[in-house]
Point group: C2
Chain length 209, copies 2
């Protein structure tokens, strides 16, 4: 992939970057696509959450958010998994060096782009990771909600395979609570329904006197 | 998937729509992902072209275009394939009733959404299909360029399997010529290089006196 294209350095770098990010299609997540036939890959997931952001926008508590930035953030937020792999949401061990691995991946991947673009992409990715702006929180909310919906519709396939209980899912869903009352009610309902259907384990009761 | 969610008709319709569009992950295209290991699906393709639009934006002849509309158009442009299937670019038979099949698909799919959203999504899809605005032409250019790049990097896998020759590819690439001198030069070069490497067939010479 080290071709030079039409003697244009910028285009050459950009095509090389595009060839590189194709690899995201081979990064498998822990959740299944909705028909349960196979695991989802991260490229599909990125497409999915970007469209979710558009469809569910009206439910954000602050609908003055910049949806365009959210969409771009979601499209690129997981590119680092090409090098760093998908760290399962409930893998506490994997989370120890996740930040370090992903920072290195971002530097290498975005580093393929021409310098001005590198900065833009890195800034968007950092914004998502830092989660301080309302846009990044809304983006994170959808990123967290997506596997929960897919789990519900696949009979809890990934929850059961990995022995996940309600409190773990709730903890992951914290960004949803921050940005949308409606989506938070929805999240609580989908978890309760999943428990009622026996596809998600409730937490062991800590104190049963 | 006929659940009602938190007694909210709009959210219920939207979640039902999201469950439906998950099926795009099972629609296979005729092109391979870049490592040649398998066919690409249309959800991945949609993600890919949306990011291409961002990366290659500077090469549009008119850079005042509305990139945000392009991105949204590309994310949803192929949803109709859930019902209508992927019509191979060089399948003249399949193209005969393509429009009819895709119109019906758009009505059914976007019809799942609340009415105001239905209109918005339908308009964006129609804009892409009509190809009259600059944004839709730029979007189409990337949609056409994407399989060519993937073909080049997979040794012409899909071209060879389907006996495709240069003039057919050139014809498909017409929208590129319309929107970008740089990307058109790139397209011509990638085709020439593919022919030189023996991975794309040149046309038979019509008149050899
Ligand atoms: Ca397409």
């Amino acid at each position: 992939m080290s071709d030079t294209w039409i003697n244009n350095n910028r285009l050459t770098a950009q095509i090389s970057f595009l060839a590189e990010i194709d690899k995201l299609k081979n990064v498998l997540r822990k959740t299944f696509i909705m028909d349960g036939s196979r695991l989802e890959n991260t490229a599909e997931h990125s497409w999915n959450v970007a469209l979710m952001a558009v469809v569910l926008m009206e439910h954000a508590n602050d609908t003055s958010l910049d949806l365009n930035r959210v969409i771009r953030m979601l499209l690129l937020h997981d590119l680092v998994e090409i090098d760093a792999g998908d760290t399962f949401a409930y893998d506490t061990q994997g989370y120890l060096d996740k930040e370090e691995r992903e920072n290195a991946a971002a530097r290498r991947l975005f580093g393929i782009l021409p310098e001005d673009q590198r900065g833009e992409w890195m800034d968007l990715w950092r914004e998502f990771e830092d989660g301080e702006t309302y846009e990044s929180k809304y983006a994170a909310a959808l990123d967290r909600l997506h596997p929960v919906i897919n789990n519900h519709y696949t009979g809890g396939a990934s929850w059961q395979k990995n022995g996940i209980v309600r409190s773990q899912v709730l903890k992951r869903l914290a960004p949803v609570k921050e940005v949308s009352d409606t989506l938070w009610s929805f999240a609580l309902e989908i978890l309760q329904k999943s428990i009622d259907q026996g596809i998600l384990l409730d937490d062991p009761i800590a104190e049963e006197v």
